[in-house]
Symmetry: C2
Subunit: 344 residues, 2 copies
């Protein structure tokens, strides 16, 4: 609607001229590199303010070879994990003078789509990228990309690998299952997330393993896909199975659906069935009943990943300053000791 203003924005040259110095001096003042007589600096800054001058990022990065741009690769940004991660990433980036650009790939995107998104980030000049989607890190195509631009993944690639960065999915499942077992439940059923996600697979493995360690044969997995709808379906399935007293659901959102299905089927939580989920979203405390859940420190994780990434980009080490990323069990009202069998 409004016409684009024709007068181009002021450049370093304009500032230099008005301040009666060379462009180099202007650059020095603005970057803080090199020494400038205080008085000169003041004079330059005055002109900068007067003109409303700001460095042209493209020109600066063309000349310096640095963009201070970080890329983030996530699935549809409205997922809880994506946005929670994003908060941590943005903070850490901003604190270090980096900016962030996001590329979202659709859920269940093909490897193709993923590479495309990665390339888009590289093309924009991202000096590093935080990967928040499930990808096969060992494919040649991925290796090639990670080779030229440092990348860090916010989840562990395999149960065995010890990525100091990822939330320990094994620990999450163990925390949940052991809580239930320690309460006196004889076994724990598992409602999975979408197995497209490694997290989901890892939790299943750890759930199985924890049960096995106690000499319990794992019951069949009830499949879910993270959505409340799938939790609801899982709840109906579970309600139809006699004898179930404890369920580990792979996300809070699914737990909401599960709770409703159980309620509709006349099962009360936690009296008939105990439920523990994962994430600790803001609403978890306001489910009925309030959810016992394993909190994932996504924000800390995003921060940690970013800090490490920046360290790698700048060629230093980033030990010591890394935030804690251990999952923690939050006990609320959806879990209890199993009812005495007398009632049945």
């Amino acid at each position: 609607m409004s016409p684009r203003q024709p007068d181009k924005s002021p450049s370093q040259v304009d500032v230099a001229r008005l301040a009666g110095v060379s462009t180099q001096t202007v650059s020095r003042v603005l970057s803080g590199q090199g020494s400038v007589r205080p008085e000169t600096a003041r004079r330059v800054m005055a002109v900068v303010d007067q003109l409303g001058y700001r460095v042209h990022a493209a020109a600066a990065s063309l000349a310096s070879g640095r963009t201070r741009l970080l890329g983030v690769l996530v699935v549809s940004t409205d997922r809880y994990s994506s946005s929670a991660l994003g908060v941590g990433i943005e903070h850490a980036a901003a604190a270090n003078g980096y900016t962030v650009t996001t590329a979202a790939v659709p859920d269940h995107a093909s490897g193709e789509a993923f590479f495309e998104a990665f390339d888009r980030l590289e093309r924009q000049g991202a000096e590093g990228v935080v990967i928040g989607v499930p990808v096969e890190l060992n494919s040649p195509a991925m290796r090639m990309r990670m080779d030229r631009t440092p990348s860090i993944r916010s989840e562990r690639a395999s149960l065995a690998e010890d990525a100091p960065l990822a939330v320990d999915q094994h620990a999450i499942a163990r925390l949940a299952v052991e809580h239930l077992l320690d309460l006196g439940h004889e076994t724990v059923w598992y409602v999975s997330g979408d197995d497209y996600w490694l997290e989901s697979q890892h939790r299943r493995e750890a759930w199985e393993q924890t049960l096995l360690e106690r000499g319990i044969t794992p019951p069949p997995v009830i499949p879910g896909d993270w959505t409340p709808e799938s939790g609801y379906r899982a709840g109906r399935t579970i309600a139809a199975i006699p004898g179930v007293t404890a369920v580990f659901v792979s996300s809070d959102e699914m737990a909401f659906g599960l709770l409703r299905a159980l309620h509709e089927a006349g099962r009360t939580v936690p009296d008939d069935i105990s439920v523990v989920s994962v994430d600790d979203i803001a609403l978890a405390a306001y489910a009925s009943p309030a959810l016992t859940t394993v909190r994932q420190p996504f924000e800390a994780l995003g921060r940690a990943a970013t800090l490490r990434l920046i360290a790698e980009i700048e060629g230093r080490d980033a030990v010591g300053d890394l935030p804690e990323t251990e999952p923690t069990l939050i006990v609320r009202s959806s879990t209890a000791r199993p009812q005495a069998a007398t009632s049945s």
Copy 2:
């Protein structure tokens, strides 16, 4: 850990040399601008693939004066509205060859912090910005910024102004209140969002106005701040007030807290009290009872805002292709006719 590869990435010159053409031809092939003999183009592309060449964004935008970068200004990205908006923005941007960079300002940020974020986006080269936070658009500082970089706001600045873009907050409140009134409730109480947000203020105004139009004196506003905790507090307050039969809560998240408080106080929804909220988040259908709510089409809004912004940047008009952004009432189980007064 891994050393940065010393061999710099290939440039247009490298491609040109290998393909036996000028850099200009390479540029033409890659941009699709200007005509090139098909055979030449093929030869260039072959070299491009072979070398893994990709244009250097900074250089390109320095030369062309275009960045194809859009900025987004939101509060803490983990808010539902922010991320839902973001999804729409990203889609529309990607579909038009633009990339997106986000600047998050803390909730309740000062005008200062906001301008800083805006400037950061400008410095990065954003050609336009979508504003998703409450700001005074008429301050000189803001005027100045919007003057040099096209900006579009995803909410209506005042109840009177008819921004074709914003979700109609007035309509939201009217939909909610009239639904309740039509059900037979004598008045409707209102739990506000955070009044730092214009949306919240506008909904209050419209709630008041709708009541007044029917000759009803609005009861006092129960203050909230969007969080489930504040909804819970509001619920306790309401439970202590005799005679309340209908409540309009300004967000689904608050509704969850409200529901819990009401439940704890022994009031049943919707039999004793009807509740309608706003947003229609994924979990709204899984509250107990399922929430009747006014859906805000955030994604469509983000898309529409972006489309208009791009149109403005490119100096064309964007009529016709704008998505619908009307709010819609979703009736579920948290509302019903008031119980006959006989029971009291």
